[in-house]
Each structure stands twice: as C-alpha cells, then as structure tokens.
C-alpha cells in the first residue's frame, strides 16, 4: 500500500516532468538562420550547389573534422528539407569500427584504412565491393606557444623535435636563438604539452618530425605520444588550455584551437630549411604534391615531406571520409552521394572560415569523380 503510493507518486512526477518539458523543439532556424547564407560564396561551383536528397544518415569518427562537419551538416540540412545527418565524434578508431560493423553509413577518419581494416570494412560493403578513403578535410597543425613579450617565433624541425623530446629545456637555448636572430628570448623553462589520447594530430605531427628532423627525433610516429617528459592532455582543448595558462608553454594543436584561444603560433621549418608561416596557400603548396597511394578506387594520400617548394607548410593533417565504393544500402545511397558531393564541392568553401584548408584542385577533382562513381 505504502509502496504503491510511493511508486505512483514517483511515476506521476516523472510523467509530469516529461509533459511539462514536452515543448522542446528541433527548430533552431531562428537562432542560426543568419549564418547559413554564405554557404556557397567564394567558389566557382555551379548555381545548383545543392543537389538535394532526402533520408537520414548516421556517421561517426574523427573529432578533428567534427567542427567542419557540424557546419556542413547544418548547411546541408537547412537547404535540403527532409534530410537528417547525424555525425558523432568519438575518434577515428570508433568510426572505423562502427562502419565495419555496419552501424553507420560512413566514417570520418584521421587515417586511411590499413590493409587489414580495408579487408574487414570492404566485407561490410558486400562481396566484391570495396570500402574507400576519400580525403576531405585538410587541417594544418599549429605549434602554439606562450612567451610573454615574444610575438613572432621561428622554429626549425630540429628545434621542435629537441624541444618536444626534452633536449632543449629553456627558451634562451642556443638552438632557439639561432632560429630567431634579433629576438630577445626570456630565460624561461620550457613546458611542453602533448596529447595523452590517441589522435591523428599526434600521428601527423610526429610524422613531420620523423621526416624533417630525422636525427633529432628518434621516436616512431604514432597515434600515441611516445616521447618522454612534457604534460599530456586528453583532447586538444586541454593542450590549448595548458599552453594558454603556462608562461613558457608550447604545444601542437589544430589551428582552430589556437585561433579560438588567441594562442600565437610559430613559423615552422620545412625540409628546405625555410621557416614557413601557417597560411592556406602554404598548406596547399605542401598538399598539392601529395600522391595517391590507395589501390583501386581508394584515394589514400601519401605526403611528400621532401617537397621542393620552399613555401610548403609541412605539419598537416588530412582527414578522410570512408564510404562503400559500391554496395551502399539503396535507401542511403542517394543521400550519401549527394552529401559527399556537397562536401567535395561547394562545401569546401566552408573549410577556410573554420580554420581548415580546402582540398587542392588536383585532389578535389579525383575525389569528385570517385563520388560520382559511388553505387
């Protein structure tokens, strides 16, 4: 008797709370409508920027591209009534696992599929079909620092490698001075910040060091930080926060975190021994020499770290979308195709305002033709 009354009241309260709050809405157009307009500006894409399809897609994976994805999803959904695209982060590994298990329609990943992953992922697309990597979101990696009184800094690959492996311990070290003639450097201890979680950013940053500073950087490139010392942070947000609050701090981060937190970032030394500032043009210089090493219709990229261009910015990350080349669910195919088409087409214009970089034209063309062939 007592118990039933207790349960009853609890149930009534829950139902009451739910129905009271049942005025929630998915309609966010009033708060965000203004920002949707410039979606197509700045490109030479044809007037029919949105070749709409309807339905719903789910996808998961790379967090490095989630900022871009949130802009794309918003723009696409607002222009194509009847479409819902649910992209969740969670990491490239989760993206590939989900895609391989068939629970998502496409995956975002910081790495192209490995050979074994490719076999497993292709099996999901049906016999004889292949899963393919589509390079979609290039993003520069900034080397952000916190040095009171210093607004411009040059760091060669060797110096960066020595700083992050703990060989250079103070900011007035001879190596840093040599990179920055005429700059007064404080005699401040260096505190390095790196990712403690697995990430494509770490992978590409250490690969840059491995290639451009082979003597100073003796560690393997990996998703996980392998050098000793320094402070680790889960997610780039922690690195940005650490650098921002620690005089003498330095860390690598996706550009958007540096700009959002107003952290200055260094000019980085490339293979030609030049200090290159992080600009869209310089990143494109580097990316345009990348070669496609994927087999079949796969568009996995391989960077050319020996790039002869003196203005090539080498600390770059490219994230991919992984889709079935053929064998997509017939209900999902039109929307997958239409959405990918948008991403590789007019959607590319949204990248630069959000601190990414648009694909170089040569790669973009290949991605677009691969999308046209999706089945």
């Amino acid at each position: 008797m007592r118990r039933t009354r207790l349960l009853g009241t609890a149930a009534a309260l829950t139902i009451g709370a739910l129905s009271l709050a049942a005025c929630g809405t998915n309609n966010n157009s009033t708060t965000s409508g203004a920002a949707s307009a410039p979606a197509t500006s700045g490109t030479t894409a044809s007037a029919a920027a949105f070749d709409c399809a309807t339905g719903s897609l789910t996808a998961s994976g790379s967090t490095a591209q989630s900022n871009a994805m949130s802009q794309w999803v918003k723009a696409y959904q607002q222009n194509c009534a009847g479409s819902t695209i649910n992209y969740q982060g969670g990491g490239s590994g989760k993206g590939v696992t989900d895609f391989t298990a068939g629970t998502t329609d496409f995956a975002g990943s910081d790495f192209p599929l490995s050979a074994t992953e490719m076999t497993a992922a292709s099996a999901r697309c049906g016999t004889g079909n292949q899963a393919i990597d589509l390079p979609m979101v290039p993003g520069p990696i900034a080397v952000g620092y916190n040095l009171p009184g210093v607004t411009a800094l040059n760091l060669s690959a060797d110096t960066i490698a020595k700083i992050f492996s703990g060989t250079i311990k103070t900011w007035d070290d001879a190596a840093i001075k040599a990179d920055n003639p005429g700059v007064t450097l404080p005699s401040l201890g260096i505190q390095t910040f790196h990712r403690s979680d697995g990430s494509g950013t770490t992978f590409n940053f250490t690969r840059y060091l491995e290639n451009d500073a082979p003597t100073a950087w003796t560690y393997k490139h990996d998703k996980t930080w392998t050098a000793p010392g320094g402070q680790g942070s889960k997610g780039t947000a922690g690195i940005a926060q650490g650098v921002k609050s620690t005089p003498g701090g330095i860390g690598y981060m996706e550009l958007s975190f540096a700009t959002q937190s107003s952290i200055p970032y260094a000019k980085v030394g490339n293979a030609q021994g030049k200090f290159v500032s992080l600009t869209t043009a310089n990143v494109v210089n580097f990316l345009s020499k990348a070669t496609i090493t994927g087999t079949g219709k796969d568009l996995a990229l391989s960077f050319d770290y020996t790039n002869p261009d003196t203005n090539a910015y080498p600390a770059v990350l490219v994230t991919y979308e992984i889709v079935c080349q053929a064998g997509n669910k017939s209900t999902a195919l039109p929307l997958v195709k239409s959405f990918m088409n948008y991403l590789a087409g007019s959607g590319q214009a949204l990248l630069e305002p959000n601190d990414y970089v648009a694909l170089p034209d040569n790669i973009k063309a290949k991605v677009q033709s691969a999308i046209a062939a999706l089945a």
Partner: protein, 352 residues
C-alpha cells in the same frame, strides 16, 4: 562490552577536574592565529597554504595541550575528536563549494529557456544558440529505465544475500557484486556494445545505454541495500516470525520499511553515480543532435555525452553550452534526490 567496562575504571580520575569554558576554543583559535601570523611575518615562512596549515595544526596542538592540563586526558581526547570531525566536515565542504561554485559561475551564461527547449539540430559548433532538450529527454529516459531495472533486481539480490543466502553461493555472489563495482564504466559500455548492438544487432539506442548503466547501477544498489538490511535488528525478524508471519511477508512488511531510508540513500547514490556516466553512453547511445523520444530505437543523446562533446570543442559558444549542461545535470540529480527524500519522509518510515 568488555571495553566499556574497562573504561569505567578510569572514570573517577578526571571527575574532579572542571571542563573548559565554552569560549575557550575561540580564545585558543585567536591566540594561535596571532602567533602563526607573527611567525609568518618575522620568519622566512611564507604562503597562504602554509599559513592555513600551520594555523590549523597549531590550533589543534594548543587546544589539546590546554585541554589535557585543565580537563584531563579523557576530555582532551573527546575534544580532539570533535575538533577533527568538524575539520573533516569543513574539508569535505571545500571541494563541494569549489566544484559547485565553478560550475554555476560558468554554467549560468547559457542556463536559459532556449537551452531547455531546443535541440542541437542544425546548430554548428560555433553558433551561439542551441540547447540540450534532446539530451535532457535522453538522460531522463536512459537513467529512468536503468533505475526501473536495477532497483528491483538489486533489492532482490540483496534480500537474497541477507535473508536467505547460506554457504558458498551467497559468498560468491556477494564477492562478485563487489567486483562489479570496480568494473570500469567503459568496459560495461563495451560489453553492451558487443552483445546488444553488434551480436544481437539491436542497433544503437537509449535502451542500450540503459543496459550499460544497469551493469554499473546494480552493484551499488545491492551493496548499499545489503548494508542497510543487515542493520535491521534480528529482534524485529524474530518478533515477526513468532507471530507466525511468513518470511516473505516479514521482509516486505517489516524489514524493507525499516531499512527504507537507508535503501533510498543507496538508490539515490546509484542514480547519481550513473547519471553522470559518459563513457558507456559514448559507446551505446551513439549520440544525436535531434530529439528522439523513443529510447528503444535510433540514436539518442545523453546529457553527460552532450557536456563531454561540447567541452572538447574550441569554440566559446560550445564551452558555454557544456557548462550549462553540467549545471543542468547536477540540478536534475539534486531535484531527484530531494523528491526521493520527501517521498520517504512522507511515508512516515523512520529508522528504528
């Protein structure tokens, strides 16, 4: 009982001494404050933390010494115990104030109507608007279903352990319940992901999240309920049996009501523990930016997931949403807590 008897021997020793006047602790506090302050001014000692620790230690030492001299060692020990417990209380409230204050200060910025009535559909990370309505709905459903499954299950298991279990099976169950409390939440999520989502092909859903939460919730319910049931005096059980009331009736009408306040605390702790869980949700509910009222089909959002995702983004707008979400989550659990306690109090049941 022997211990109590032993201590009576020393009773007469201190009976003649007079207790310290009430204000004396304030006096000692002031005196040690002055002495510590002087020391910090005159000697190289420095720093706020140093000062506070120094003062606290000085106070405890001085107070105990004074008490030993004036009141005798028994009263001194008593005084030391009350000082230390009071100190523990203050120490425990510091993080509460710090965490709550911090969350409120950062969360109030977006703690508005838009936040409670809008989802995140078509809101980009850098947009200012958007809300957590979809996440609130998801959390209430996921935690609600998890509670509906865990509480009866946990109660039955603890009743078995306390009232029926004998011998090895009971001990094994009891041990493994403890082991379950140490299961990392993410492993619970992995298990449900593998079994429910991938092998049984049920897909991501709020319910899958509930199942993962059940695994985390049951041991807490069992463990706390078990403690409370064990504390119900045997005399009550025996009195009930003597009246010819069967065992299950005794449990239902005598034992459970007696232990109810404690059990409620246990359940509230369990709910509080799981409603903030991020890792298992990450793997089981998938997450969504749109409202999904149906916990049994399709991706759903949860508040902890919402907070976690938004907090990882570089944009100030997203960070503001994250803290507002954290504040909402705390408020939600507090409201639940208060309601449960009111319910228990209204149903008259007091511990015996």
């Amino acid at each position: 009982m022997t211990t109590v008897q032993a201590s009576t021997d020393s009773l007469l020793l201190s009976a003649s001494k007079h207790p310290l006047p009430r204000r004396s602790s304030l006096g000692v506090a002031a005196a040690t404050l002055v002495v510590s302050a002087l020391l910090f001014v005159l000697t190289p000692l420095d720093g706020v933390a140093d000062f506070l620790v120094f003062w606290a230690v000085a106070y405890v030492l001085a107070m105990t010494t004074v008490s030993v001299v004036v009141e005798g060692s028994r009263r001194a020990r008593d005084r030391l115990a009350s000082t230390l417990t009071a100190g523990a209380l203050i120490l425990a409230l510091i993080p509460l104030v710090a965490v709550l204050g911090f969350t409120i200060a950062r969360g109030l910025g977006r703690f508005d109507m838009t936040f409670f009535t809008h989802s995140m559909l078509s809101v980009a990370d850098s947009d200012a608007g958007g809300g957590a309505y979809h996440a609130i709905v998801g959390t209430i459903e996921q935690v609600g279903i998890a509670t509906l499954i865990s509480v009866p299950l946990g109660l039955l298991v603890s009743i078995y352990l306390v009232e029926y279990a004998r011998g090895r099976f009971g001990r094994v169950v009891s041990t493994f319940v403890d082991v379950m409390t140490g299961l990392p939440s993410i492993v619970a999520g992995l298990f449900v992901l593998a079994l429910w989502v991938l092998i049984l092909k049920q897909g991501y859903s709020g319910f899958a999240g509930s199942l993962a939460l059940v695994i985390l919730m049951v041991p807490v319910v069992v463990r706390t309920t078990e403690e409370m049931l064990r504390l119900v005096p045997d005399s009550l059980r025996e009195a009930s049996f003597a009246l010819g009331i069967p065992r299950w009736r005794t449990i239902q009408a005598v034992i459970l009501p007696t232990a109810l306040p404690g059990i409620t605390t246990g359940i509230m702790l369990a709910i509080a523990r799981v409603s903030g869980e991020t890792a298992p949700l990450l793997l089981t509910v998938f997450g969504s930016s749109a409202i999904n009222f149906n916990p049994f089909s399709g991706p759903q959002e949860g508040l902890p997931l919402f907070v976690f995702n938004e907090a990882g983004l570089p944009n100030d707008t997203a960070l503001a949403r994250a803290w507002a979400g954290a504040l909402t989550l705390i408020a939600l659990v507090i409201v639940l807590n208060v309601v449960a306690r009111l319910l228990v109090r209204r149903s008259k049941l007091q511990p015996i």
